[in-house]
Symmetry: C2
Subunit: 197 residues, 2 copies
């Protein structure tokens, strides 16, 4: 039964990490990443600070756990793989609008926390750079699937249309229903990227 017990302990450890990450995410979003202490996270999560230190080591590691949970929830990998199977190029772009919207919907707070952390800490800035570069690389692969059906500057225009500032403006400030944003993004990607023949 040793294996069973070990996997039970691993599950428990993972649940503790998730509990810490959820509490930290709320505090980071409300009070800011920089001013939130591990002590405050410990109180909010009802988990001893010492346990948090042994599980994570430091605050950046907690933020990484938050980002990992977000990526899992947004389900981007599966959604973008599904998008790649869509034959019609306009529909494939609308499908990208769907997964981009899903990312914002599930994690605009995480993006903002990262932006704040990056402004305060050069290592976090470098880490965010790496994450954005990886995203850009995946987008490049996605856009390559269109062959010569897209305009030359398709990647730049995709990044422009999916600017965080626009989601924030339309959905959070001007209170567009998220479906309206997704429809707008789909239409706009089609109009901006797809060559008409």
């Amino acid at each position: 039964m040793a294996v069973k017990e070990e996997s039970h302990r691993a599950r428990q450890a993972q649940e503790t990490k998730a509990q810490v990450a959820r509490a930290a995410r709320e505090l980071f979003a409300e009070q800011g990443y920089v001013v939130t202490t591990v002590t405050a996270i410990s109180e909010a999560a009802r988990i001893p600070a010492q346990t948090i230190y042994s599980a994570f080591g430091n605050k950046p590691a907690i933020l990484r756990e938050i980002a990992g949970m977000w990526i899992a929830e947004a389900d981007t990998r599966r959604l973008s793989n599904e998008a790649l199977k869509i034959e019609d190029p306009a529909e494939r772009l609308r499908s990208a609008a769907h997964w981009q919207t899903r990312q914002f919907e599930t994690g605009i707070d995480v993006i903002r926390i990262y932006q704040e952390a990056a402004r305060a800490d050069a290592r976090m800035a470098a880490e965010m750079q790496r994450v954005w570069a990886a995203r850009e690389h995946e987008l490049e692969l996605f856009l390559q699937s269109f062959g010569d059906q897209l305009t030359d500057r398709a990647l730049d225009l995709f990044l422009a249309c999916t600017a965080t500032e626009i989601y924030q403006l339309l959905v959070l400030d001007r209170l567009w229903p998220v479906e309206d944003y997704e429809a707008w993004l789909g239409d706009t990607l089609v109009a901006q990227l797809l060559l008409t023949r």
Copy 2:
């Protein structure tokens, strides 16, 4: 000759303020608004700190002077008045793309300084809110000149297309020539805002 002397002194005082504002703008952009001290501005501008205090009172007032110089240089008021005289609606929108581009070109650094100041200081955040609200109000008046030729959400879409993040991405990061950005913005405003009949 008293009047002449007085106007000479006023000109000199204005020149001193401008000199301080120019030096401060550079320091704010390079090192950040929050960490830049009046002492550092005094050294860079070669003007005694005491003179800076009597001319401005505090750092927010220096930032206000910087913003005023920017607005004068961007010449928005004149450009938007000229735009209003253009009969053709598509051309009128392209003219708006021109003045928006001019604002970014002459002051993207000022916008970034304000954003940083607003994050650090609630009063500066309130001030930036007021500036954005005034801009929105002017845009509303501009868009009203189109009567019923625009889509319902014209103002939201105008604000989305002119997101600072997009200018930063395309011109500063991806190195688009500024004329390409202006042409893209003009085309996009026409495509997004103008009803086709």
